[in-house]
Amino acid sequence: MAAFGGTDTRARKLRWSLLNTLVVVYALVPVLWIMSLSFKTPATLNDGNFIPREWTLENYRSILSTTEFLRALVNSIGIALIATAIAVVLGTMAAYAIARLQFPGKRLLVGVSLLIAMFPQISLVSPLFEIERTLGLFDTWPGLILPYITFSLPLAIYTLSAFFREIPWELEKAAKMDGATPGQAFLKVIAPLAAPGVFTTAILVFIFCWNDFLFALTLTSTERSRTVPVALSFFTGDSQFQDPTGSISAAAVVITVPIIVAVLFFQRRIVAGLTSGAVKG
C-alpha cells in the first residue's frame, strides 16, 4: 500500500494511530454514553456523570426477561435479513442492466426509482396502511418486508450501478467470446467482481431496515411482527410520565451489537473487494 508521507514507518504508524483514535472517539463517545446510561441505577441515571457511579445489570435483566423484547429482536433480525437479501438480489439485477445493457425504458426506470427515493415517506404511510389491511398483509412480516425492499431499492440500484460501471467489462466480453451467454457472463465473471459493491450495498440496506421506525410503527400492531425500534416505544416507565431511559438504553445497546457484528463480518469482505479493485488500477 503506497500512501502519504515518507518512509519512516514508525512516525507514520504513530500519526495513523492518532488519527484512528480521533475517529474512534468521535464515533463511540455518544454510544458509550448510551452504554453508561444502560448500566446506571435509576437514582444515578441523570446525575450527568459520564461514568456510572453505581453499576447495575438490572436494565438488561428487565428487558431480556420479557417476551416483548426478545420477540421483537427475532422479528427485527428476520425481517431485516430477508428484506436485505431480496433487495440486494433485485437491485443487483436491475443495476447490472442499467450499467451494462441498452434497452428502452432505462431512463424511466431510473427516474421512477429516484422518484420513490424522494417522496416523503410520512405521506405514504396512511395509504399503505389501508392497502395492507385490505390485502391481509397488515401486521405480518411480508407487510414490512415489502416496503423495506421498495424504499431501499433506489439506493441499492444507484450504488450498485455506480460500482458496476467501474468493473472491467473486457472480461465479460472475453467470457462471451468463449461461448458464455450474457446470463452466464453475469453470474460467473461479473458477480464475483461486483462483490464488494454488493456487500457495501447490503450493509446500507440492512441498516435502513434495522433502523426503520415509521413503517414498523404504522404497519404492525402485535408482537407477531413488531420490530425493536418500535418495541422501544412500548416500554413502560414506572408511571405514565416517566421515561424508561434505563431499559431503552439497554435495548439500544443490545440492538447495536448485531450491527457491529454485521459490520465486522462484511467489513472483511469489503477490504478484500477493495484490494482487488486496487489491483485492477
Partner: protein, 422 residues
C-alpha cells in the same frame, strides 16, 4: 368483511399468548376459541394485565378481554387508533383515550354514546370533573378510568408556607435567590401539550375563557389575557429553570431531583419516583394545590387522565361496555391507583385505607380534582393545542394584548380546521 376478520384471528391468538406470558398466573389460557374476544387498546400501563385478568375471571367465559398495548407516546397512541377507526376497523372494541381526545373521537362518531344502565353505572360515584371530560354536547361518550392533577411540590426545608398564587411563588423564589439558596421553579414549559395545560389552568384560575361556551368561537377574554401576563412574568423573572422551554414532565422531575430547585409543578408520579430514587430529598418535599392567580380565589388546575370508550365499529358493543365498566370499577381502580400510580375517578376509592400509604397527598388530589378545570371542549382540540403551544412558546416572548389578538385569529382558524398549523 368476514374474511379479514378470520384472518385476524391468529393475530389475536398471538397477542393473547403474549399477554398470557406476561400476566401473572392464568387459569383459562386460550381455553375457548369460540368465545367472544373484546379487544382493549390501551397505553402501556404496568399492572393493567392483572386488572384485565380480574375482569376476565369476572366475565366467567362470556367474553375474554385481550390487552393490545399502544405505544408510550400520546401522539402515537392517538394516531394508531385514529388510523384504524378511519379505516372502520372492526377489531377494536374498548379504547383507552387520553381525556383530551374524547370530544374529537365523539365528534367524528368513532365512539359510541353511553346510555341507559351503562351510563348510570359509569356516572355513579364518579367525580364530576373527570365525568365532564367524557361528555360531548351533553352526552356521555366514555367512562373515566383514571384522573390526574398537577400539584405544587416545594422544598419544606426552604419554604415554610406553600405559596397560594404565582406572584407569591415568584416572590418566595426571589427571596431564596437573594439568600443564595436553591430557588428555581420547574414547570413543563416545552412547546407541547404540557404548556397548554398550564395556560388552561391559569386562565381558568383567573376566571377566563379561551373559547365560547359552545366551543365554536375563539374568545380569549380578560382572564385569558391575564393568564398570558402571568406566564410571561414567570418566564422573564429569571426564576424559571433555564431548560424551561424544553422541559416535559420527566425533565422537570429529574431537574428537581438534582436538588437545585425550590418548586416544581407536576403530576403526583414525581413523589413515588422521588421516594425511590432520592429518598433524602423526598423527606423534605411538601405538596399544595396548583397556585392561583388572585389572592383569595382558589386555583383551578387542569385535569389529565384516561377515559374508556367503545368503538363505533365494535362487533360486540354490549360485551365491550361491560368490559369497560369492569376495568374501571372501584376495586380495579384501587388496584391501579396503588400499583400503577394513577389516581382514581371514583370518589369513594380515596377513602380506602391502603390509599394513604400510596397517596399521602390524596386529599390535595381530591380537592384539586373537585375544583378541576377541563380543557376547552371541541372536536378540534388537537389543532387548538398545536396553535396554542406554538404561540405561547417561548413564554418570555408573550406580549399579552398582541398575543391574545393573534390567538383569536389563529385559534379560530384551527377550530375550523383551516389553514396551516405550525
Amino acid at each position: 368483511m368476514g374474511r379479514p376478520a378470520m384472518r385476524a384471528r391468529p393475530g389475536r391468538a398471538a397477542a393473547a399468548m403474549g399477554v398470557a406470558l406476561l400476566a401473572i398466573p392464568l387459569a383459562a389460557c386460550g381455553a375457548d376459541q369460540q368465545g367472544i374476544t373484546v379487544n382493549l387498546y390501551y397505553a402501556p400501563e404496568d399492572g393493567l394485565e392483572t386488572v384485565v385478568e380480574n375482569c376476565n375471571q369476572q366475565a366467567a367465559g362470556r367474553y375474554r378481554i385481550v390487552y393490545n398495548k399502544l405505544p408510550r407516546g400520546a401522539d402515537d397512541q392517538r394516531l394508531q387508533m385514529v388510523r384504524r377507526l378511519a379505516a372502520e376497523d372492526r377489531d377494536m372494541d374498548v379504547l383507552g383515550l387520553d381525556l383530551m381526545w374524547t370530544q374529537e373521537f365523539a365528534g367524528a362518531e368513532w365512539i359510541r354514546e353511553w346510555t341507559g344502565e351503562y351510563r348510570a353505572e359509569a356516572e355513579e360515584g364518579t367525580l364530576e370533573g373527570p365525568l365532564e371530560s367524557a361528555r360531548y354536547e351533553d352526552r356521555l361518550y366514555a367512562a373515566p378510568k383514571n384522573t390526574n392533577v398537577q400539584l405544587l411540590w416545594y422544598r419544606t426545608d426552604l419554604v415554610d408556607e406553600p405559596p397560594e398564587t404565582w406572584d407569591e411563588m415568584m416572590e418566595t423564589a426571589q427571596e431564596l435567590k437573594d439568600a443564595g439558596d436553591p430557588h428555581t421553579i420547574l414547570i413543563t414549559g416545552a412547546q407541547y401539550e404540557g404548556l397548554v395545560v398550564h395556560y388552561n389552568s391559569i386562565t381558568a384560575s383567573a376566571g377566563g375563557h379561551m373559547l365560547s361556551e359552545d366551543g365554536l368561537r375563539a374568545e380569549f377574554d380578560d382572564g385569558a389575557v391575564r393568564a398570558l401576563e402571568v406566564l410571561r412574568d414567570f418566564a422573564t423573572s429569571g426564576l424559571a429553570h433555564p431548560g424551561l422551554t424544553n422541559a416535559m414532565e420527566d425533565d422537570a422531575r429529574l431537574a428537581f431531583q438534582t436538588g437545585n430547585a425550590a418548586f416544581q409543578i407536576n403530576w403526583p408520579f414525581v413523589y413515588a419516583a422521588m421516594q425511590a430514587e432520592t429518598p433524602e430529598l423526598a423527606g423534605n418535599v411538601g405538596w399544595a394545590p396548583y397556585p392561583g392567580v388572585e389572592p383569595g380565589s382558589p386555583s383551578r388546575s387542569t385535569i389529565g387522565g384516561y377515559n374508556l370508550a367503545v368503538s363505533t365499529y365494535s362487533e360486540h358493543p354490549d360485551e365491550a361496555f361491560d368490559a369497560a365498566l369492569c376495568l374501571r370499577n372501584a376495586e380495579n381502580q384501587k388496584f391501579s391507583a396503588i400499583n400503577s400510580g394513577v389516581p382514581p375517578t371514583i370518589e369513594s376509592v380515596y377513602d380506602e385505607p391502603e390509599m394513604l400509604d400510596a397517596y399521602p397527598m390524596k386529599d390535595a388530589i381530591l380537592e384539586s380534582v373537585r375544583n378541576a378545570a377541563n380543557r376547552p371542549s371541541t372536536p378540534a382540540y388537537q389543532n387548538v393545542s398545536t396553535v396554542l403551544s406554538h404561540t405561547l412558546s417561548p413564554p418570555s416572548a408573550i406580549d399579552p394584548e398582541r398575543t391574545a389578538e393573534e390567538l383569536r385569529v389563529s385559534v379560530q382558524k384551527a377550530l375550523e380546521s383551516k389553514g396551516v398549523l405550525p
